[in-house]
Assembly symmetry: C2
Homo-oligomer: 408 residues x 2
Amino acid sequence: MFDSLWKNLTAATMSAGNADFGIINNAAIGIKDRKIAFIGSIDALPGAPEKLSEYVYDGEGRTATPGFIDCHTHLVYAGDRAAEFEQRLLGASYEDIARAGGGIAATVRATRAAPEDKLFRLAVDRLRALFFEGVTAIEIKSGYGLDLETERKILTVATRLRDEADFRVQRTFLGAHALPPEFKDNADGFITLVCEMMKTLAAEGLIDAVDAFCENIAFTLPQTQRVFDAAKELGLPVKLHAEQLTNMGGAKLAAANKALSADHLEYIDEDGVKAMAQAGMTAVLLPGAFYYLREKTLPPIDLFRRHKVPMALATDHNPGTSPTLSPLLMLNMACTLFRLTPEEAMAGMTRNAARALGWMDCGVLEKGKNADIVLWDVPHPRNLCYGFGHNPCYGAVMGGDWHPADHE
Amino acid sequence: MFDSLWKNLTAATMSAGNADFGIINNAAIGIKDRKIAFIGSIDALPGAPEKLSEYVYDGEGRTATPGFIDCHTHLVYAGDRAAEFEQRLLGASYEDIARAGGGIAATVRATRAAPEDKLFRLAVDRLRALFFEGVTAIEIKSGYGLDLETERKILTVATRLRDEADFRVQRTFLGAHALPPEFKDNADGFITLVCEMMKTLAAEGLIDAVDAFCENIAFTLPQTQRVFDAAKELGLPVKLHAEQLTNMGGAKLAAANKALSADHLEYIDEDGVKAMAQAGMTAVLLPGAFYYLREKTLPPIDLFRRHKVPMALATDHNPGTSPTLSPLLMLNMACTLFRLTPEEAMAGMTRNAARALGWMDCGVLEKGKNADIVLWDVPHPRNLCYGFGHNPCYGAVMGGDWHPADHE
């Protein structure tokens, strides 16, 4: 009846509308064709576990949650920025570093120079670290190429991670990430190139969604609209890096374009939040970048609550402002720094992260959803938020198959 | 000539007075009788590696550092405080939680109730997690018993971790950690008991050092002095939790008693720092507790620098204010939150942590020191500080023996 069956779990289903993480005690989960075919109390099973599946696993009372979905990452790049990190602590200013060719330009140079296979190996190592903390699906942005060849290389690596590593991946084209040196003082000209690259790479089947960075150090509202128009023509969903450093009105623009999400949002105002609510958008909060940049302005959590804008969380993994590979630490930082409740934080890494990507088939443990399930050595899901710099992952079911965490 | 020999390392010796982490490129390390018998450029070896040792290991260019020393932990306890963490985020005050029997009292109850073997198993799991991030020696405080039987149980577990897990451990008696419920309104009476317990447990060979918590929510200066006097009579070194929440003058008192260290120190003033400098003390900084408590007052790093007080770092692992098992995250938090340079942070987890414990035989990679060496998959030691929520540990030599990190 089932391909496999898990028993003896504390299942935190994270279903919408349920209080207390949607917990089912003494739960069983039956898996068929990579989907959840049964979830409920073991007493509700239509027979003895051993009669329902040849493969019966004993969860030994562990806590099961939906696989984590890291819905905002820049996973594919070469080089690191550790020397820059050190220089700043030794007193160098951002300007000093930019003059020396550092910052995002350094990562673009290294990524342009790296062969595809090297980029792939680096990204696989990062993906593996995320997986060992419970990530079973991920969004990956381009944006460290800023020319056709390198953007293609990055999106090809993201595609290979999907196909060769058998990982659920949303590939997001973020051509409008930063202005490359060859377009200095010609941002509009670069946006023209971005729209052309988007058309070419979409035709090659390399793009699932489109993102842009709308900020006073990046691109303007009209430039962002041009990117969104090009995406609309290609039938691609959009999202936006918005209000990270200033309130530019990017979230409102994203809402007018029916974007999936706006991300960062420390500086959004109530009008922006209302617009997001009306457009059915998700707010993607990135506490790792908030922490690393020592930002003092908090995203307006109470406004998101009041206007019922779902909040997602992600690592924002990138070499400049969030070099982290720990979704668990993001849960704790969301609680500690942003004062999310543990249930809000957990929903942010599961149900609402799926929503931010437009995915309807994952993010909760419910019948019919993908069998992406993580087992944790903790007595309750809130413990995942309470600790920091810890990893109680026992292993994960991904696409129905069991992968033990072979660390420890 | 050597029991074993490592070649092809980037060795960050962390020797005092060296700039840039004391790096030796293309280094070799020869080990004899659990000590470092040679460290230097491979060219300085008195012969071909294979002629000098039967066992030659290739570091493949990895970065080698001294084993991390976690010089301030409360590793032995039962129970967790995740429910409390959640309640606070749902709006409960500290007073609400205390009235409901929460806070430190909850950990004391759980620890008193736990059998020794259970405490041992819990502590071994925590020690293993620390080891997988490069910790090869540790300080462990008692203080969740607050009666003779339970303080003895905790210190016995710490002793078993030293002897059965073959781990370098300093066992610190922290009887004056908090006032147990049975001594409500009788702190002086409890200090009398603390001094008696100290005498008994020292006679049983269970104490290496003595600590106290001097704070407005804990014990006064005169009570602390009584604890120090008792320690002095037993010939035990002392240290102090001081100026964490207010400037009580604890660091000065500790200096007058020639303490090894004062720990926390967010509220210390320049007089306190000068007193520490004159007494040759080490400042132990605990960025995990600073982060978790959302403290806004920074420890005065510039004063420690100006008066040449060595700064150590530790996890302060405990279930209430720092439930972390990540020394690497402490390195990043020390840089990000306290603005230490990566070299200062690394010295804090190695050379100065040894100093905080009064240990002269570890904390640096030098001839004659213990062969406790960690290998990292990073190009430079500063990368250990730059990332957060990551773990590039490849494995460790502890007491001369190689232990691969078998996690990913």
